[in-house]
């Protein structure tokens, strides 16, 4: 009789544990998915901003045709990207083109004084930040989720219900890895 009660209690505890961990895992997975969609929203926003920016800047920067072409090309590639790998590569290139453009802007004081351009620039700066921060938060969530899945005792439940590891979102930025060249 007592043995039966002990077994029943242990079983009940185990079931409660499984339910608790399962719900935590589901919540974490939803958070990961939500963070992922945040990145998407911000990338779309960047794509929408760029034509406006180019339109405003064109009149002032007649000699920078190459920069604009680079941006436009990178944008259409990023928008046409199908897979995650493609997207992260194209977005990296677009980010690079944008930061190059913002550096060139420093040489055009008239443009920098333009009210319209100033507000576009703030939006662009903020969008770039939001992309970076949403990537950061996505990677944080993925790290936490992956830890939970691999660590004891939650890994038992994760294996029971086949929760899979998630990948980090790394943007390939060639410039960040390049060693700066010094010439004399």
């Amino acid at each position: 009789m007592t043995a039966l009660i002990v077994v029943a209690v242990v079983l009940a505890l185990f079931v409660a544990f499984v339910i608790g961990v399962y719900n935590t895992l589901i919540r974490l997975r939803n958070q990961v998915n939500n963070s992922w969609s945040q990145i998407d929203v911000q990338l779309k926003r960047r794509h929408d901003l760029i034509p406006n920016l180019v339109e405003t800047a064109k009149g002032y920067m007649k000699h920078e045709r190459g920069t604009f072409e680079e941006i436009t090309k990178a944008r259409s590639q990023a928008m046409g990207a199908k897979t995650v790998a493609e997207a992260s590569k194209a977005e990296g290139a677009l980010g690079e083109a944008m930061s190059k453009f913002l550096l060139v802007v420093e040489n055009y004081p008239d443009l920098k004084a333009n009210q319209n351009f100033l507000s576009l620039q703030e939006e662009l700066t903020s969008t770039e930040n939001k992309i970076a921060f949403s990537r950061q938060s996505y990677n944080d969530q993925v790290l936490f989720f992956n830890n939970k899945i691999q660590m004891f005792p939650s890994n038992i439940v994760a294996n029971m219900f086949k929760f899979g590891k998630r990948d980090f979102f790394e943007i390939e930025i060639a410039a960040e890895r390049e060693v700066p060249k010094v010439s004399f």
Partner: protein, 408 residues
């Protein structure tokens, strides 16, 4: 991160239960002191009624009362895009479930606070003085600190604990004043109460007076000790969100060295909500360490500046023990190893500030929030007309043209 939130929640509950016990005990003792042995329950009931009412009010509209008391005005993206964008950036970094409402306080003292019941219904308010003085990276640091308060659930804690402290203060004040007046009137009730119970009644009364004096002090020390700890933790959280501790450090430095007069509309209960102590000190002694709501700014800055390896809680905790030589404030659960690299300053921070232009811009925002009408004269002068200006024509002070005001 999540471990920290859990630890914080538990601490909040412990503190709130402790304060509730203090409050109810105080009510009980005061009741005993006032009305004799049957009065204990009466006091208990009065204390719980006061507490219940204040708690209900603070839950339903505590943040609104606080925002209104500090004269904060809600803004939208169009009023001040940069501030709004920065709040949104930090909301994304912290993955909050909803965008906090953004407020500006028309006050030249640089300061900021966050309030609300939950991360879903939070608000962030900054003063105009803060907007006028900080660059983008610094403002981001301050907002990150505030968003960390929201993320760590400190906003609810401050509201509930603050209300509890308020009720304890109120109860003891009422009792002590009541004592004072009744002792001026008839003393008979206390001295000759029952048959031979006089001694015990006086004894109870003395205990009640001591309790009424000590309880608020105890509650305040408890509250302040925890809020100091939470300031450090919000600094750590802010550094972790931005990956750039220098932004917050240099913002704190600017705020500390600011000569503006102290913030209007602030009191003992609300002071812990602000990013730096809104009370300007005058000739403080060492005792202030116990009673102050905030850690010393210079120390906070030094901790943030010595985080040279990374931006995780572990890095902050190491920097903290290095600088203060004290035990760490970060709960052990949150000290997991994380590899979080620092980032560089943004391009704008490296540029020299155009302080005067920035100040004027903030002034214009305050005016447009306050329904000022802007009118540009043909001679180029910008007229800023207050909402209580009744006439429908105005003369330009430079070129003497008569201008029509737009109809409202």
């Amino acid at each position: 991160m999540w471990e920290l939130i859990r630890a914080n929640k538990r601490n909040s509950i412990v503190l709130i239960v402790l304060m509730a016990v203090v409050l109810l005990l105080l009510g009980f003792v005061i009741g005993l002191g006032f009305f004799g042995s049957e009065g204990g329950f009466f006091g208990l009931i009065i204390a719980s009624v006061i507490w219940l009412i204040l708690t209900l009010v603070s839950f339903s509209s505590g943040d609104q009362i606080f925002l209104a008391a500090s004269n904060a005005k809600a803004i939208t993206h169009d009023d001040y895009p940069q501030l709004f964008n920065i709040v949104e950036e930090m909301k994304i970094a912290a993955s909050l479930p909803a965008m906090p409402k953004v407020y500006i306080i028309p006050d030249s003292a640089p300061n900021a606070f966050a309030t609300g019941r939950s991360p879903e219904t939070a608000s962030v308010a900054v003063t105009a003085g803060l907007l006028g003085r900080l660059n983008r990276d610094e403002l981001q640091g301050v907002i990150a600190h505030e968003i960390s308060h929201i993320l760590h659930r400190d906003i609810l804690f401050v509201t509930v604990a603050g209300i509890m402290l308020g009720s304890i203060l109120l109860l003891s004040q009422v009792f002590l004043r009541g004592m004072f007046y009744s002792s001026m009137g008839s003393r008979r009730r206390f001295s000759g109460g029952g048959k031979g119970g006089g001694q015990a009644a006086i004894f109870m009364l003395i205990i009640a007076i001591i309790a009424a004096i000590l309880a608020p002090i105890m509650a305040q020390l408890l509250y302040f000790a925890l809020s100091r700890r939470r300031e450090y933790l919000a600094d750590a959280g802010g550094a972790r969100l931005t990956r750039y501790p220098e932004g917050l450090a240099s913002a704190l430095e600017k705020i500390a060295n600011d000569p503006s007069p102290q913030l209007a509309s602030v009191n003992k209960v609300t002071a812990p909500m602000y990013i730096v102590n809104p009370f300007k000190k005058k000739g403080q002694m060492k005792l202030s360490d116990l009673t102050s709501t905030h850690p010393p700014i210079s120390e906070r800055v030094r901790i943030l500046r010595s985080m040279s390896h990374g931006a995780s809680f572990k890095d902050y905790s190491d920097a903290f023990t290095n600088v203060t030589k004290n035990k760490t404030v970060v709960p052990a659960m949150a000290l997991t190893k994380e590899d979080i690299a620092l980032r560089q300053a943004s391009a704008e921070a490296k540029k020299k500030q155009r302080a005067e232009y920035q100040m004027r811009q903030v002034g214009d925002i305050m005016r447009s929030v306050n329904q000022f009408v802007f009118l540009t004269c043909l001679c180029g002068l910008k007229l800023k007309i207050p909402p209580n200006f009744k006439a429908n024509k105005v003369q330009c002070p430079r070129c003497k043209r008569i201008l029509d005001l737009p109809k409202k």
